[in-house]
Amino acid sequence: MKPLLRVAVLVAVASLAVAGCSTQAATIGGSARTADPAGPTPSTGPTGTITVLAAASLQRTFTTLGERYEQTHPGTTVQFSFAGSSDLVTQVRNGAPADVVATADEATIRKLSAGDLADGWPQDFATNTLEIAVAPGNPLRIHDLRDLTARDVQLVTCAAPVPCGAATAAVERAAGVDLHPVSEEQSVTDVLGKVESGQADAGLVYVTDVRGAAGRVDGVRFAAAAKVVNTYPIAVLHDAADPALAASFAAYVRSDAGRRVLTDAGFGTPAR
C-alpha cells in the first residue's frame, strides 16, 4: 500500500510538471506566431488563409462574402467560425488563432482591450433592427408590439444579457410596452427556432433573421423598432497572422460589393 501511494504521488508531481512545461510551450508557440506575419506576405497582394470569427446572425451573409472574396482574390482562403458575439469575444481574449472578428453589437466588441485589436479598428459595417416573427400568414393577427401583450400569445424573446435581448429591452422602453415572454432565449436563432417550430406564437428577432427564414416565418414591422438600431462592427485582430490579408477582407466587407450582399439580406448601412 505504501510504495503504491509513493508511486502515485510521484506520478502526480511528474504530470503536473509536464502540464507546466506544455503551458510554457504553448505560450512560446503563441508569441512565435505573432512574430511571424512579416515573413510569408508576397508583394503582389495578399494570399493565404485567414480565419474570421463572426456573429451567428452573420452566418449566411459572411459565407457568401467569403466565397466572393476568394473568387476576386485568387490564392486566398477565408475560414469562418460563427458563434454568439460574447463567445467570440471570450475566444479572442483566450488567444484563439483568428485574424478578423465581427460582432452583432458595439457593446460586445468594446469588451476587447485596445491591445487585442489592430490600430484603426473596429469600424462599423452594417446595422440591424428588430421585427416580430410570427407563423406564416400571421394567424393571430399581430400588427404591433402591443398585440404581443395579449394573454393567449406565447411570446419568446432574447434574454437581457445577449445583444438581441438588450435591443428588446430598449424597444420595450421606446414603445412604453411591458412584454411578458414565456421564455427568454440565449440567442436570436433560438427565438427564431421556437417560432419556426410552432412552439411559440411570436418572437422578437432581427429583420435579417426573418428574411433568412425564407417563408418559414412572417415578419411584422413595428414603429418603435426604428428607434433601436444595432450596429455591427468589424475589426482586424492585433495578433493576426497576416494583417494585410485580414485588413483586405475587412475592407471588402465594407466595400460597395460587400454592402450589396449585406443589404440583400436585410442589413442596413451605418452612417459613415
Partner: protein, 283 residues
C-alpha cells in the same frame, strides 16, 4: 455482515470493523497508477482551476442574488422530482429488462438506454416532436388546454428523459449480478411475485438502486441541452442553475464561475452523502 447483527452502530464502527476483516489487498501492476493518476488529474485540475477563478470577495453576493437562488431552488426541486419519477418508472423497467430474454426486449432496452449516448439537444428535439405544441401528443394535449412547453413540467420531462437511463442501467446491473436464487427460494416458500419483489428483490439490489438514484439525480441537476431546447429559459419557471450559468457567462463571468462552483458543491454533497449511505447499506 449486516447492519442488524451488531445492534445500533455508527458508520465509523462499521467501517473500522470492515477494515479489520478485509483480506490482503490484491497487488496491481506497477505501471497501473500512471494512467490512473493522469486520468484523475485530468478531471481534478480543471475543477480546481475553476475554483481558483472564484472572486471570493463578491462570492456571497453573487450566489445569493435573487436570480441565483431562484435558479438553485428550481434546480434542486426539479432534480428531486425527476429522481422520484425516474425511480417509479425506471425501476420496474430495469426489473423487466433483467428478467426477460426475448429479442424484442433487447431492442426495447437499447432504445430506452439511447439517451445515454444521445446529445441532450437531440433529446430536446425528440421531446418537441412528441410533446411540442405541434407534436404527436402535444397537439392533442394542446386542444384540451394542456400546454407543456415553457413550463416547469417540461423541465422535469427533459430531465427524466436524459437521466432515467442512468438509473435503469445501474439497477439492471445490480439485478443481474446477484442472480435469482433468493427469489426462487422465496417462491418455493410460497411468497407471491409482489411479496418477493418487495421483500427479497428490492432489499437485495438496494445499493444498486441508491447509486442509480444518485447518478440520475446528479445528471438531472446538470441537465442543460434538452431543457434549453424543449422547455425554454425563464427565471423561476424553467431557468435552472446550468442555464443561469450559461446565460451569466455572456455578461458576467464572475457570477457564472461562482454559480458553477455552487453546482459543483451540490453535486459533491449529493454524491458524498449517498456514497456514505450506500456503504452503510452494503456493510
Amino acid at each position: 455482515m449486516t447492519a442488524q447483527d451488531g445492534g445500533p452502530t455508527t458508520g465509523r464502527d462499521q467501517r473500522q470493523r470492515r477494515r479489520r476483516t478485509t483480506r490482503p489487498r490484491l497487488p496491481v501492476p506497477w505501471w497501473l497508477p500512471v494512467p490512473a493518476a493522469l486520468g484523475g488529474l485530468f478531471v481534478v485540475v480543471p475543477v480546481l482551476a475553476m475554483v481558483g477563478r472564484v472572486d471570493w470577495g463578491s462570492f456571497v453576493a453573487l450566489v445569493t442574488s435573487p436570480a441565483s437562488t431562484t435558479a438553485l431552488g428550481l434546480s434542486l426541486g426539479t432534480a428531486a422530482a425527476t429522481t422520484g419519477i425516474a425511480f417509479v418508472l425506471g425501476y420496474p423497467l430495469a426489473v423487466l429488462f433483467s428478467r426477460s430474454t426475448a429479442r424484442w426486449v433487447g431492442v426495447l432496452r437499447a432504445l430506452v438506454l439511447l439517451p445515454l449516448v444521445l446529445p441532450p439537444v437531440v433529446g430536446g428535439l425528440a421531446l418537441l416532436a412528441a410533446f411540442g405544441r405541434l407534436g404527436l401528443l402535444g397537439a392533442f394535449l394542446d386542444e384540451h388546454g394542456l400546454r407543456i412547453a415553457f413550463t416547469t413540467t417540461a423541465v422535469v420531462m427533459a430531465q427524466v428523459f436524459v437521466s432515467m437511463p442512468f438509473l435503469v442501467s445501474s439497477v439492471e446491473g445490480a439485478l443481474r449480478v446477484g442472480g435469482d436464487r433468493y427469489e426462487r427460494v422465496a417462491a418455493t416458500l410460497g411468497a407471491g411475485p409482489t411479496r418477493t419483489f418487495l421483500t427479497v428483490t428490492t432489499p437485495r439490489v438496494l445499493p444498486g438502486i441508491v447509486s442509480g438514484l444518485v447518478l440520475c439525480g446528479a445528471r438531472a441537476l446538470g441537465e442543460f441541452g434538452a431543457t434549453l431546447t424543449f422547455a425554454g429559459s425563464l427565471q423561476g419557471v424553467t431557468r435552472t442553475l446550468p442555464l443561469e450559468v450559461y446565460l451569466q457567462r455572456e455578461v458576467d463571468p464572475d457570477t457564472a464561475v461562482a454559480l458553477a462552483l455552487v453546482l459543483v458543491v451540490v453535486a459533491v454533497v449529493v454524491i458524498g452523502v449517498t456514497s456514505l449511505r450506500t456503504r452503510a447499506v452494503v456493510a
